[in-house]
């Protein structure tokens, strides 16, 4: 089955991962800007990173027939440096017209601090001004519930936000309805120990349905599985869920969300597989 991994950090994965993902049916991915494992020291560091996201990864992905899309921002972990964050946000528009950029992301909260909230809001200000889609990282573990509530508060407090143009990512059992009931898209992240397993993700789908929900691997430099979405496909099949429902979650939903992007152009490789 053709699938899309809507959240994976390929900059930290080897080329063999692209190869195996393509073998498993991956036709497109989207790569949000995130933390490098250390705090970047300057705007120039981010400029080089964004160059990598809009130039280098699309070419590497194309070698395996995979369409590569990206999202731009400064990660919440680096938002404590407010002045650097503001400089990065001011620089992002240089890259917004690149053909593979879907919007602003993954913005969000990490430890739910005041500075993180300020920088989250300033990213939303940019997204509102430039009419961009928004991809949101929700915090991990004990911070997730509180952080997701705070994120939803900020989204609802901002009258410019159109919920159908926002995806709240890394939802789990206790946060999925916060996203869906408020009209946002949501993503479940299949990641060892700290997030969701494929089995729990399918449980969530059985509880909330298949509307506005997608699944991703969030593969990065941590112990993670770039083939996590195919694991979800297998789990849904094992439970007897029909191919049409599986396809909606792993292919049609991410595509429906991406297609709202201001610069969206239907890639030939995806047109081939469309309904």
């Amino acid at each position: 089955m053709q699938y899309i991994d809507p959240h994976i950090h390929m900059i930290s994965r080897v080329t063999d991962d692209y190869h195996r993902m393509a073998q498993c049916g991956c036709v497109a991915i989207s790569e949000p800007a995130f933390w490098a494992g250390f705090d970047r020291g300057s705007v120039e560091g981010f400029r080089d990173y964004f160059h990598h996201l809009v130039e280098v990864e699309p070419k590497r992905a194309a070698l395996f027939g995979i369409r590569h899309f990206s999202w731009l921002c400064i990660n919440a972990k680096e938002a404590e440096n407010v002045s650097l964050s503001r400089d990065v946000i001011a620089m992002i528009p240089e890259f917004l017209q690149r053909p593979n950029v879907l919007g602003i992301g993954e913005i969000g909260l990490n430890k739910n601090t005041k500075n993180e909230a300020i920088i989250f809001q300033e990213h939303m200000d940019l997204a509102a001004k430039t009419d961009e889609l928004i991809l949101i990282h929700t915090p991990h573990l004990e911070d997730k519930y509180k952080g997701t509530r705070m994120i939803v508060d900020m989204l609802k407090n901002d009258s410019r936000v159109k919920p159908h143009r926002v995806c709240v990512d890394h939802v789990e059992e206790h946060t999925v309805k916060l996203a869906l009931d408020n009209g946002f898209w949501c993503g479940m992240t299949l990641y060892p120990t700290t997030k969701c397993t494929p089995a729990r993700a399918v449980d969530i789908i059985e509880m909330v349905g298949t509307e506005k929900i997608m699944a991703n691997s969030a593969g990065d430099w941590g112990k993670s599985d770039p083939l996590a979405v195919p694991e979800l496909i297998l789990e849904m099949r094992r439970r007897g869920h029909p191919e049409t429902a599986i396809r909606k979650v792993v292919y049609e939903n991410p595509l429906d969300f991406f297609r709202q992007s201001a610069r969206w152009q239907e890639p030939f490789s995806l047109l081939n597989f469309s309904k």
């Binding site: 509102a128 901002d158 410019r160 789990e172 059992e173 789908i205 909330v208 849904m236 007897g240």
Partner: protein, 90 residues
């Protein structure tokens, strides 16, 4: 709700998941044994983390639904609705 993704019949789920549940319960038992075997095991019994694990086990024992969601909330920091929301600019 999408009728195509109905939950699997309960007896089948039990059949398919019994060994997995058994194995995971054994993992938790072994973790608690390991903690008890280690030096200064008395000290950890004051640790809030042990209390959380025990409360989670009580959720498993209870008859209420949505146990995964309940355990998620048990391991979550409290949310204060009166936090200071930043204002949108422009």
């Amino acid at each position: 709700m999408d009728p195509r993704v109905k939950a699997v019949a309960a007896p089948k789920v039990l059949e398919q998941s019994f060994l997995e549940a058994r194995s995971k319960l054994l993992d938790i038992a072994a973790i608690l044994d390991r903690i008890n075997r280690g030096d200064s095991s008395d000290a950890v019994h004051q640790d809030v983390k042990i209390g959380r694990i025990m409360e989670a086990l009580k959720i498993l024992e209870g008859k209420t639904p949505h146990k995964a969601e309940q355990i998620q909330k048990l391991f979550s920091l409290p949310y204060d609705a009166n936090w200071e929301i930043p204002s949108p600019r422009y």
